[in-house]
Amino acid sequence: MTNLKDRILKRKKQSMERYKEERDAFEKVMGTPKINVSVELPKGYEAQREEFLDLEKEESFLKDADKALGRIVKKHLKKAKEQAEKEKSSKSESKS
């Protein structure tokens, strides 16, 4: 029975891709929003192409990247907020 289940599910791979797309669309509205950032192999490290690609699955790398990106995102969001507030106050000043 498990064999049959696996065989059928294997055939439905394309449908499962569509399921993931739909789930992402719902997640965007109901859940925590996400953005994707892609990272290129840095210059001078061309010889380590394989190792670079493997990083995508490496837990310790993902943890470090998440931490570092979290810090960068917060920094930029804070900056954007300050900028917006500055613009708002300068507008109200020019009106008065």
Binding site: V29, M30, G31
Partner: protein, 424 residues
């Protein structure tokens, strides 16, 4: 007594069903193998000519199916059904009981228009997301959605592929379907969702604070959604009226498909790529296999056998049709069952039988048998696949407990409904 030619055709038919049911190959490839064998043998032995083979395929069914697929693929891409699912979740206000019934009813409603496969992917994605956010067990929602999607659309000509096949063969129009079966379907929505509720009540979880969101949040252009809504209304109106203009439902479906592509701003190429060609090739191939069976007289033989078993009694014939077609649909695709039964029932025309009674029994049988086990229909196996994506491993046996229970409840109710609607 059956001759050797008939036995070969029965062999081809059984081989096709075995290949498809055992997942040795896909449904469409199994049907194409069967069609090829049937054609080769028919031509070599002189049972039929190559022109006759082409005529075995009812292209009106194919046109209707493609028209409906295109129309609702366009509507689906607008985000209209996603908004509907988001509202259903929003108004459950974190109460798992309300959420459960909302998902059940939205599943059935959405599948009135969308194909079962598209509907389950949409509803499972919605249910999976909210279950993860609220930390609910996703199994009750996924399994119930699959069972309700299978049920939804039983009373409409376009509600399922088997309905389209039966509708085109019987001549029943959109209004006839509603007239004979709408009441039964609505009652089954309540009965099935209540059965599932009592089955899954302990697993639904507790009331929690729901996420706050705007269902229209991710819609870039609201006009696209309004246009899609207009297409649905137009589609329903035209389907209610088409008989007065002396055109078939396939023409209306195609007209709506073209209008949808024209009015709603979508990529036509992407829409065409989403057409379920597997089902279309399966139907085309199976039409040829059934044509061969009909040509050598097996279907007439089976039709006579059904009448003999039922002693020509109307109620018994309907009962036999309902339960046997449902039982067969549990194990093989209900499209194959519909394609096999329609000529068998069609032969009974002119025998002083109430044909509407028999067609209604067949519609109920082919639809209700489609979610008893995961192998009964694609919708069930996709629900299990989607659960796997959520890291939940649901066994075939566990699914079958809910599927078999609801199928038996539905069939018992359908039997009483047929007696009340058409008499004994």
């Amino acid at each position: 007594m059956l001759d050797s030619t008939s036995l070969i055709y029965i062999g081809i038919y059984v081989l096709t069903l075995l290949l498809a049911s055992a997942e040795v190959t896909s449904l469409s490839v199994a049907a194409l193998i069967g069609a090829l064998l049937s054609t080769l043998f028919g031509l070599v032995s002189g049972v039929f000519t190559s022109e006759e083979v082409i005529n075995f395929i009812d292209f009106r069914v194919i046109l209707l199916l493609v028209g409906v697929m295109i129309t609702f693929e366009v509507v689906e891409r607008s985000g209209l059904f996603r908004i509907l699912a988001l509202y259903a979740i929003k108004y459950s206000k974190g109460d798992p009981r309300i959420l459960f019934f909302s998902i059940c009813f939205v599943s059935a409603a959405v599948s009135l228009f969308l194909s079962d496969v598209t509907a389950i992917l949409l509803i499972a994605a919605a249910a999976g997301t909210i279950a993860r956010i609220m930390d609910y067990d996703p199994v009750p929602y996924f399994v119930s959605a699959a069972i309700m999607i299978n049920l939804g659309g039983t009373s409409t000509l376009i509600g399922s592929t088997s309905n389209m096949i039966i509708g085109m063969a019987s001549g029943l129009n959109f209004i006839d379907f509603l007239n004979f079966l709408a009441l039964c379907e609505i009652a089954l929505w309540f009965l099935t969702s209540l059965t599932l509720y009592f089955l899954y009540k302990p697993r639904l979880g507790e009331k929690k604070t729901p996420p706050t969101y705007d269902p229209w949040g991710e819609i870039e252009d609201r006009r696209t959604v309004y246009k899609a809504g207009f297409i649905i209304i137009l589609f329903l109106l035209l389907f209610l009226l088409y008989e007065q203009w002396n055109v078939g439902p396939e023409i209306i479906a195609f007209l709506c498909a073209i209008l949808a592509l024209l009015i709603v701003d979508v990529d036509a190429g992407a829409v065409f790529r989403q057409i379920d060609w597997e089902t279309i090739f399966f139907i085309g191939g199976f039409f040829i296999i059934i044509g061969g069976l009909e040509k050598v007289g097996i279907l007439r033989f089976l039709s006579k056998a059904v009448l003999d078993v039922a002693h020509g009694n109307m109620f018994l014939t309907a009962l036999l049709t309902l339960w046997s077609s449902a039982l067969l649909s549990v194990f093989v695709s209900n499209i194959a069952v519909a394609l096999t039964y329609t000529p068998i029932i069609g032969i009974m025309k002119g025998l002083n039988l109430n044909m509407n009674y028999l067609w209604s029994a067949l519609v109920l049988g082919t639809n209700l048998g489609g979610a008893a086990t995961p192998v009964s229909g694609a919708v069930c196996v996709l629900a299990i696949g989607a659960l796997k994506e959520e890291n939940v491993n649901l066994s075939f046996v566990e699914f079958s407990k809910a599927g078999a229970l609801t199928t038996i409840v539905q069939l018992i109710f359908a039997t009483f409904y047929l007696i009340l609607r058409f008499g004994m």
